[in-house]
């Protein structure tokens, strides 16, 4: 009998803090002996080995029993948990967008190369796990007061997003803002050559590979384009973090639209913006493709100009009204 109790108490003791171990084990031993005596008195005979084992099982698994003596603190408590959950959803969306956007680009430009898409998608899993792990560490640190997070208490109703008609012109949700931030950050990474473009400067088509050479105007406009992207990220971040800051976002959007219009004005006379080289293509075929690309870029530039003009009007109106 005592061998079973010793083994049980030994397993519990191994999990207890050293300072209180002896004390708790002595008390548990007393509890177990009392229980055994009580049961033996009821049955009118000593308990056998199987019955003692059953009694110890009733007291609980050593890990559970030792755990009850530990500090009663959840890794993330009920007050922080909803914020952790919201943060994890946002981070998973960021990880998903960061994987899906390059995968989409690869799908469009790397005809038939499924490995590229597969590789980009599998990048999502370690990124997501790392982000969720980081969020959990931060939330646990906040729970323990190691990181002060008074922002959870000092929030303002006026900074919450307005309830508006979702079909309103240029109405944007927080998710749109998040998409904008991730997509633009990926663009910035690619533009500054921190991140490699999924397919380099080569597009794979049904007719073979086509190499792209960009016009030198892009070198000239390197900083303005980078500035526009950074401003766009700021605008997206305002929408995600402080959706109530309508005027601030409208102001940033107006700056972005003005830079966009200036860039479009500089690009228009510099056509063709992209020159194609395809050694496997016929001269006529290549010329035809080049014409199509030029026309597409001209149309895209016209659309960009129209959108930026419209943004100037809409965001100007928002800047005045504040809503």
């Amino acid at each position: 009998m005592s061998d079973l109790i010793d083994r049980y108490l030994g397993a519990v003791a191994a999990l207890l803090p050293k300072a209180s171990r002896q004390d708790i084990v002595a008390e548990l031993r007393d509890l177990i002996v009392n229980r055994i005596e009580e049961r033996e008195a009821t049955l009118g005979r000593p308990l056998d080995k199987r019955e003692i084992e059953e009694l110890l099982r009733e007291i609980g698994h050593p890990i559970a029993v030792a755990g009850r003596y530990g500090p009663h603190m959840a890794l993330i408590g009920p007050e922080i948990y909803p914020f952790w959950l919201f943060g994890v959803k946002v981070l998973l969306a960021v990880a998903a967008l960061a994987a899906i956007i390059p995968a989409g680009v690869a799908l469009l430009t790397a005809y038939g190369d499924a490995r590229l898409v597969f590789r980009t998608v599998t990048d999502f899993i370690p990124t997501a796990l790392t982000l969720v792990g980081a969020a959990t560490l931060v939330a646990a640190a906040i729970e323990r007061g190691w990181i002060k997070a008074d922002g959870f208490r000092n929030w303002k109703v006026s900074e919450l997003p307005r309830v508006s008609d979702s079909k309103a012109l240029f109405s944007r949700s927080r998710f749109d803002g998040l998409f904008e931030v991730v997509a633009t950050l990926l663009f910035i990474g690619w533009w500054t050559r921190v991140v490699e473009f999924p397919t380099g400067n080569v597009i794979t088509t049904r007719g073979g590979e086509v190499a792209l050479t960009f016009s030198p105007i892009f070198q000239t406009l390197y900083w303005p384009i980078l500035a526009m992207a950074v401003v766009q990220v700021v605008s997206g971040l305002i929408l995600v973090i402080k959706p109530g800051w309508v005027r601030a976002r409208a102001g940033v959007e107006i700056i972005c639209a003005l830079i966009g219009l200036a860039i479009a004005a500089a690009l228009w006379p510099a056509m063709p913006l992209v020159t194609l080289v395809a050694p496997e293509a016929t001269t006529a075929g290549l010329a035809n493709l080049q014409r199509t690309v030029n026309l597409s870029l001209q149309v895209a530039l016209c659309v960009a100009i129209a959108i930026n003009l419209l943004k100037l009007i809409v965001d100007g109106w928002r800047l005045v009204r504040g809503r």
Binding site: E27, D30, L31, I59, Y69
Partner: protein, 120 residues
Amino acid sequence: MPTDTDIFESLRQELRRGTLILAVLAQLREERYGYSLRQALSSVGVEIDEGALYPMLRRLEAQGLLASEWREEDKRKKRFYQLSSEGRAVLARLADEWRAINAALEPLLEPAPSDGHHKG
């Protein structure tokens, strides 16, 4: 999906959690060791799992509400617990709180008057 019984059981546990501390503190106006405390509670109809009781006693002691000492009884060393002076003060305040809650809830828990208020 939780059944009605599961839901009831979880709500019952939640309701009991705070009242158990009150019962333990009240029983420890007199000195007792863990096992005798559980028996005393059981005799007045308050059942408590030992697995929860012993850690609870240690927490209450760490909070300064209980005092304890090891003594020999029936040829075995036992740890005896009793309310500290701080514990007595806290128990008095908690008891007032309990009575106030009880007084507020009791009329609410009265069966609703029969259909007299319903229209036609």
